[in-house]
């Protein structure tokens, strides 16, 4: 108990609180600007932390991290351009709500779901970090493969209109992810002899091109004045009754995010897609998903912000960073002489508890700062459209190149932008492309590692462990469900079409139709 009180004391110094406010606010803005995401934000702030003490520097970085994950949803909702890849799933329902004039409601749910997910994952982190870490260790390559397969299935759900078009885009994203070094042999693939391509296509330039640049192209090519104006950003928090009605969605999203975040090598973008796929099957209002249903925003935002807390589980409990962002945090801790690892909890309990307290304060700060931040975006988007779009293009390119400092990424962003514009004109959904790109590397390397481990026997994947079997059964159920629902739907449609026809003619055609 003394340790916890001392930890609270560490977290409530004016330096730490100031760092939280600055970090969180800067994070929200950086996250909201298309192209600039968590990694860029942390890269900007990392050098400032060298002169600070441990808690203050971690407070600044955690603030930037959590703020940026939330901030990405603001532009996702307002202009259909996720500020960060983590918020890509927020556009599915966020932007339709904006088009329906429900901006305030959409932003309110996004903010509240982010806060809820963040806090719930902190609580989980405090009480079950060791247990969750132990469970995550059981997630080997084969289990991760099964989980990624399950997540991939959400492509089916979000490809409204044409499943084929969705699958084409999903495969395209997957092939983009295979460019570069082979994860198992290290050989170069699809580089066409160009050395610059051997580092592969990074996610950020592709996301920036697919969403931000294509959105700019679409708006510029639209003749309709009305369609190109950006609605005024407002924020209205959901009432307690509304929250109660959707509480189960909030809890489900937060738990999925907390769990996926604890697995090494997945991350917030994957968590958001998995959570959205779950909402498609389990939400009582699933029929409206994709047409402007708050449940979709909740699924995406509660899970991606839950990752911010739980990503620290493998980092703090095992010293294994879950993604690039926590790897950077781990680096910052090492600079200050804290080496995450199995003994961290025992040796440095006070620091670890102080970090937990900081995480909670950051989430509260995020809730408070959401209003002024959205106000700032409201002001920014009031500028003439040319300025706004020009700014988006500029930040997109800055974001694309600043992740790895590779000029190739500028070309990748521009080309993806043009490709995405053509695809959108053809009615192809872009989200599957990003899903393919996010999940593709995990799918490929977990499959190939799994095959190395099972010594080439794919059938043994299904019986490898209880977790794997359960996940594969879920996939089977999902497929049967989807196919059955499809057949039922198709028969209902046929019946509808033939309703006006005479019953005699109808039976005749049915018989003719049979071979």
């Amino acid at each position: 108990m003394d340790v916890i009180l001392a930890a609270v004391g560490d977290a409530f110094t004016w330096q730490a609180l100031l760092a939280i406010v600055i970090g969180t606010w800067a994070g929200i803005i950086i996250g909201g600007l298309p192209g600039l995401g968590s990694v860029v934000g942390l890269t900007i702030f990392l050098p400032f932390t060298f002169g600070m003490d441990v808690i203050t520097s971690m407070a600044l970085l955690i603030g930037v991290y959590c703020g940026s994950v939330y901030g990405g949803s603001i532009t996702a909702i307002l202009i259909n351009t996720p500020g960060t890849p983590q918020s890509a799933a927020t556009t599915f329902d966020g932007y339709p709500m904006t088009q329906q004039g429900r901006v305030d409601e959409a932003l309110g749910w996004a903010t509240f779901a982010s806060f809820f997910g963040g806090v719930l994952s902190c609580v989980l982190l405090i009480f079950c970090a060791p247990q969750l870490a132990k469970f995550a260790v059981n997630f080997g390559s084969i289990e991760v493969f099964a989980l990624v397969c399950l997540a991939m299935l959400c492509i089916v759900g979000i490809s409204r209109g044409s499943l084929l078009k969705g699958l084409v885009c999903g495969m395209m994203g997957f092939f983009f992810s295979t460019v570069g070094s082979d994860p198992i042999t290290g050989a170069d693939r699809f580089t066409f002899g160009t050395y610059a391509l051997s580092s592969g296509l990074d996610l950020i330039p592709v996301v920036v091109g697919a969403f931000a640049l294509s959105e700019v192209f679409v708006r510029f090519s639209a003749r309709d004045e009305e369609a190109t104006t950006i609605p005024e950003a407002r924020l209205r928090f959901p009432s307690l009754r509304e929250i109660g009605r959707r509480l189960i969605e909030l809890v489900r999203g937060s738990f999925i995010g907390s769990f996926v975040g604890a697995l090494p090598g997945t991350g917030a973008a994957a968590a958001a897609f998995i959570s959205y796929a779950a909402a498609q099957k389990l939400s009582p209002r699933r029929a409206n998903l994709g047409k402007g249903e708050p449940d979709g925003i909740i699924a995406s935002e509660s899970s991606n912000n839950a990752v911010t807390g739980s990503a620290f589980i493998p980092t703090l409990a095992l010293g294994i960073p879950g993604d690039v962002v926590t790897a950077m945090m781990m680096g910052a801790m090492v600079i200050h002489g804290i080496t995450p690892g199995v003994r961290l909890m025992a040796d440095q309990a006070q620091t670890v508890y102080a970090l937990f307290v900081v995480l909670i304060i950051v989430n509260v700060a995020m809730l408070i700062l959401s209003k002024p931040s959205i106000g700032l975006f409201r002001y920014l988007f009031k500028l003439p459209l040319g300025f706004v779009m020009g700014g988006i293009v500029m930040f997109s390119f800055i974001g694309a190149v600043s992740v790895r400092g590779n000029p190739l990424d500028l070309v990748v962003a521009a080309l993806t932008g043009i490709l995405a514009y053509v695809l959108r004109r053809g009615g192809y959904p872009l989200a599957p492309l990003i899903i393919g790109m996010v999940l593709g590397p995990a799918l490929e390397s977990s499959l190939r590692r799994g095959l190395l481990i099972s010594r080439g026997d794919f059938l043994s994947f299904f019986t490898h462990s209880g977790i794997a079997t359960t996940l594969f059964v879920l996939i089977g159920l999902f497929l049967v469900w989807t196919v059955a629902a499809g057949i039922l739907d198709w028969r209902a449609k046929i019946a509808d079409r033939r309703q006006p026809a005479e019953s005699g003619a109808r039976s005749a055609t049915t018989q003719e139709g049979r071979p």
């Binding site: 570069g180 610059a196 090494p264 680096g331 600079i335």
Partner: protein, 309 residues
């Protein structure tokens, strides 16, 4: 309103001109993403180093393709006296033998080696294997799996060399870094891993051998691979500073002196102590010879293990 917009635009322009003027400053390329293990050492190295040279330095992270993209950028800046690279072992001594790169070991002016940590052969503490001999025996029925932080990395090479030179039967499973590999080791997906003291200290691991020519202080009961009847395999994770070719001898001398002072400074020492990086300074000539030797050795290992193209 309008004036505010214009002044903002002007400010932005001033910003870009400033960046253009600042091109005279020293650029330190780190071929990994910010916050990585190499990056934090480079960033702790930079302040004293810049102070010694009397310049302002900018650490630039150019990541990708096993650190070769950033390294290539240094090699391609031939004759530029304002760029150096803070390089990991793999990019200088392994990657050039693995694939076609726009540089080789002869493409640089070598400045200094800064740190070096010997690698250990390790198994999980939860396994009942306590010696290398036992490991070899138990691998005869069913080959073990060893992890690495990626194909063609030092952990991979060290184990590949061990398998080639002993009766140990083991196959390679690459991960996307030491962290995920440690997770796999904890879940018994893989059984063996070669890595440095940092990894050994932070996880529940048992060292069976050390890839060095003498026993390591603090691990006096861990035998060297040579003592176990294998050829003397020497694998260490090291880092160093290189500059492009074609810079003046005078400039190279300045770099070398600044590096020596930095590595011996109390500030860097106390950092290295915290980050468990073993300071191992080598001057320009020694470092060049060292890289050349490591390059040859690693090439041989890659050929023996059938990994070289």
């Amino acid at each position: 309103m309008k004036s505010l917009r214009y002044s903002l635009a002007t400010l932005a322009l001033i910003g870009t001109t400033h960046a253009a003027v600042a091109a005279d400053n020293l650029e330190i390329i780190v071929p990994f993403a910010a916050g990585g293990a190499t990056d934090i050492v480079a960033r702790s190295f930079e302040p004293t180093f810049s102070q010694q040279l009397g310049v302002t330095s900018v650490v630039r992270n150019v990541a990708g393709a096993s650190a070769t993209v950033g390294t290539a950028e240094v090699a391609n800046s031939e004759g530029n006296p304002n760029i150096i690279g803070y390089e990991p072992a793999g990019a200088l001594s392994i990657q050039p033998s693995l694939k076609k790169l726009p540089y080789g070991p002869d493409s640089f002016t070598y400045i200094c080696r800064t740190v070096s940590n010997p690698m250990f052969l390790m198994v999980s503490k939860s396994s009942d294997i306590t010696s290398f001999k036992q490991l070899v025996e138990e691998s005869q029925d069913q080959p073990f799996l060893y992890g690495s932080s990626g194909p063609g990395t030092l952990p991979h090479l060290a184990m590949a060399a061990t398998v080639v030179n002993s009766d140990l039967k083991a196959e390679h499973v690459p991960y996307s870094g030491s962290g995920p590999a440690m997770n796999a080791l904890a879940g018994n997906e893989i059984q063996i891993m070669a890595d440095t003291e940092t990894i050994l200290e932070n996880y529940d691991l048992r060292p069976l051998a050390v890839f060095a020519d003498h026993r390591v202080e603090g691990y006096d009961d861990v035998p060297t691979v040579e003592e176990l009847g294998l050829p003397a395999l020497d694998f260490a994770v090291w880092q160093g500073v290189v500059a492009p070719k074609g810079i003046s001898d005078e400039r190279a001398q300045q770099y070398a002196e600044a590096c020596k002072v930095t590595v011996e400074s109390d500030k860097f020492k106390s950092f290295a102590d915290k980050a468990k990086a073993g300071i191992a300074y080598l001057g320009p000539d020694d470092f060049k010879a060292f890289v050349q030797k490591r390059f040859e050795t690693n090439k041989q290992v890659l050929e023996d293990a059938g990994l070289a193209p």
